[in-house]
């Protein structure tokens, strides 16, 4: 369900930086229509088969209800309108989990992106030595699969198996109060390097003349970072923020792994876990309705964020 949202976010973000769009070009006749079709068709077909059709099927499934007679009666699926959606909106654990990941996102995303920006600026600064080493070092956690990272941190947080028992025996990182932030720690650890790299590549694209001009005007490195670099990597920051918002709403692997370390992570801890649990019942119709609602929520949130940041940019 993520892909359409992601592509929209990705293509929309750079647009904000383009400033006033250039005047529309005069219409030209399309040349080589056959070649265009040949190049687009493989993508179009796969996109249709693996995104559009499954999404359409999920929406269709979410509109059905099951009817049966007797305790083991055969089930027949009939059109039920928005019945499943009514159940979604009555489902308390689901909305609790949505609130939980939103709280998670409000705290974790700014911290993670702040760190990513800081690291990117450091890598870009002429003051730092050993750039290649640090660039790789910061990025390596992203190469660790999310599940493995979660298992590793699970052991580090565990009161009895951690190498830092002095700390973990006294602070219950896996208890109901802290476990969400322990998961935030894992997610941050994994994704800081990834976001850093996006911001860093955006920094590398800034023309050197701008720096020369700034130096001539007497700006120091701090001033350059604050007044030139950060405003110019704004589009990259917005892009990473949208990816992170989407990722937050779709949290699954880390909390799922933490279930074997912490008794505070329930089977409906995040929206995706609720969907997974519902599909295991199996109640595919309700699970489909949950998925559609979550996708819409992600969509709305991403676009609201984009709208707000764009307005600010224009103001």
């Amino acid at each position: 369900m993520t892909a359409p949202v992601t592509t929209t976010g990705a293509s929309a973000a750079p647009r904000t930086s383009a400033g006033p769009s250039p005047a529309p070009r005069p219409r030209r006749r399309v040349q080589h229509p056959g070649a265009i079709i040949a190049f687009v068709a493989p993508f179009g077909l796969l996109y249709l088969l693996f995104y559009v059709v499954p999404i359409g099927y999920a929406i269709y499934q979410s509109l059905l209800v099951v009817e049966r007679e007797g305790t083991f009666g055969e089930a027949t699926e009939v059109f039920g309108g928005l019945t499943q959606y009514a159940l979604v909106f009555q489902n308390e654990p689901f909305w609790t989990s949505v609130g939980r990941v939103l709280a998670f996102g409000v705290v974790q995303v700014p911290i993670m992106l702040g760190l990513a920006l800081l690291f990117a600026l450091l890598l870009d600064s002429p003051l730092l030595r050993g750039k290649k080493f640090f660039r790789l070092a910061f990025f390596v956690p992203y190469a660790v699969p999310g599940v493995i990272a979660a298992i590793m941190w699970g052991f580090l947080f565990s009161p009895n198996l951690s190498p830092f028992q002095e700390l973990t025996r006294n602070v219950d990182f896996l208890g109901a109060d802290l476990v969400l932030w322990s998961i935030a720690n894992v997610v941050t650890w994994v994704f800081v390097g990834y976001n850093m790299l996006i911001i860093y590549s955006s920094l590398l694209a800034i023309p050197a003349e701008i720096y020369e001009a700034a130096v001539l005007d007497g700006a120091g490195q701090g001033r350059i970072a604050w007044s030139i670099k950060i405003p110019l990597v704004r589009p990259a920051l917005i892009l990473t923020a949208i990816f992170s918002i989407i990722g937050t709403l779709q949290l699954l692997a880390e909390p799922q792994v933490f279930r074997s370390f912490s008794s505070a992570v329930t089977s409906t801890y995040t929206p995706n876990m609720t969907i997974y649990a519902t599909s295991s019942i199996p109640n595919v119709n309700l699970a489909a309705a949950f998925s559609v609602v979550l996708a819409l929520a992600t969509f709305i949130l991403s676009f609201t964020f984009l709208r707000i940041t764009r307005k600010k940019a224009e103001a």
Partner: protein, 440 residues
């Protein structure tokens, strides 16, 4: 622009419709009147998670060139294989045979995923080879239906550290009252009598089973959900008391922490099923020779009741074209001495047949248990399991919801009884969401 949009929408709908036709076509399947041998050679697929089951199947394949079975292995049922089965059934490409635990059979039955094996005469004729309660688990309490051939069983007993009990002069408990008294003595020595698992709700169901309780009843017209029955509440209050007084540990089960607690001697007993013998052996290797097995503690002094934890059957999925051959293989796998011996050697499977309990390998002493003939204890327990325990049609969900509540209770938020009350409500709403009739 308008037109293209409309054309795209039309193309989309067509594709979706085609996809849906493809999906619903696999569903069908006629009634059970076709348990007859096929002409020519037959190839069957069988999905299971029993380690080394390939060996038993290889014996079959060597003896039956005209009925060849291909095994696929996966994770254990609730860890993913059941979900695969449900998806395969939905897509119309389920294997011919599958491993299904007794507690999951009603779930597959309610999703209309199983063939009724009572259509096959040979299977019906084999009923008296099985322990009555295992047969009743697979017939879902009916007289003329059968949805899996019982494979193994999990009668429960008490695994205990005989060395520690002896050294400290604590008598091995025979009732749950004595068990609590022993728990207090052991706690005073710095250990725990046992670990209360917040995730093994089927273990807890085994306790309720032993206490004579029921969680579900099925009268044909509607389900009754009774997670908060008198017996169930009694068991929950008993364990809640032990948790609240810090007399049991609450490590998450089946983790390294949990193994460590047993391996280091911190935890002294485990109320588990016969297959647990192997779990201790692999999880607590340093304690070899120090364990023994006794019959489970009783609610009434002198009582003779046992619970059951686990046990599975081999079921035939709807949509198979070879019910006769599939049933024949399932019966052989779970009754023949060669297959049962092989399954016991590779996976310590404890058979569901009366003859299987007499296998030579189950008559020997086990070194890890100080040479005790532990299977004699479980053979006795197997005869004490009540045949009436009924599983509900959405156990995966019930387990998950009760487990969420048990986890909260173990960390001091609410009680086990609260968890059962919540599980009761969520189970009822899950049933209602799928139009499964349920008595309020």
């Amino acid at each position: 622009m308008r037109h293209t949009k409309r054309a795209v929408a039309a193309a989309l709908l067509t594709t979706v419709a085609i996809a849906m036709v493809g999906c619903s076509a696999g569903g069908g399947g006629s009634d059970a009147a076709y348990c007859e041998p096929a002409d020519g050679d037959v190839n069957l697929t069988f999905t299971s998670w029993i380690p080394g089951i390939e060996d038993a199947v290889a014996i079959w394949n060597a003896d039956n060139p005209d009925i060849q079975v291909e095994v696929q292995t996966g994770p254990s049922g609730n860890a993913g294989t059941y979900q695969n089965f449900f998806n395969q059934l939905e897509a119309g490409n389920a294997p011919d045979l599958g491993q299904i635990e007794y507690d999951a059979l009603p779930n597959f039955r309610v999703q209309d995923g199983l063939e009724n094996l009572a259509a096959c005469e040979d299977i019906v004729a084999a009923e008296d080879q099985f322990l009555p309660w295992t047969w009743s688990q697979a017939s879902l309490g009916t007289d003329d239906e059968l949805y899996g051939v019982p494979q193994d069983q999990g009668p429960m007993g008490l695994f205990y550290r005989s060395d520690l009990f002896e050294q400290n002069g604590i008598p091995v408990p025979t009732t749950w009252d004595e068990y609590k008294a022993a728990a207090e003595q052991i706690r005073a020595l710095g250990g725990y009598i046992t670990n209360f698992s917040q995730t093994d709700i089927n273990q807890f169901a085994g306790f309720v089973w032993q206490a004579g309780g029921q969680w579900f009843q099925n009268d044909g017209d509607e389900w009754t959900v009774d997670l908060t029955s008198e017996e169930s509440t009694k068991v929950a209050e008993y364990w809640q008391d032990l948790i609240a007084n810090d007399l049991v540990s609450t490590y998450p089960a089946w983790t390294d922490e949990w193994n460590n607690a047993y391996n280091s001697g911190e935890v002294w007993t485990w109320n588990s099923a016969v297959w647990g013998a192997n779990s201790i052996l692999s999880g607590a290797p340093d304690t070899a020779g120090n364990w023994s097995v006794a019959l489970a503690p009783q609610w009434e002094a002198g009582g003779e009741t046992a619970g059951n934890w686990g046990g599975s059957s081999v079921a035939v999925f709807k949509g198979t074209e070879h019910l006769y051959e599939a049933a024949k293989f399932a019966l052989w796998l779970n009754t023949s001495e060669e297959a049962l011996t092989s399954l016991n050697q590779t996976a310590q499977i404890y058979p569901a047949t009366t003859a299987g309990l007499e296998l030579p390998v189950l008559k020997e002493g086990v070194d890890f248990y100080g040479g005790q003939k532990i299977y004699d204890v479980f053979a006795e327990a197997a005869t004490q399991v009540s045949p009436d325990f009924t599983w509900g049609p959405t156990m995966t969900q019930t387990y998950a919801d009760v487990s969420d509540g048990f986890k909260a209770a173990a960390s001091g938020d609410g009680t086990l009884v609260d968890a059962l009350t919540k599980g009761q409500a969520s189970t009822i709403s899950t049933l209602e969401a799928q139009s499964i009739p349920v008595a309020e």
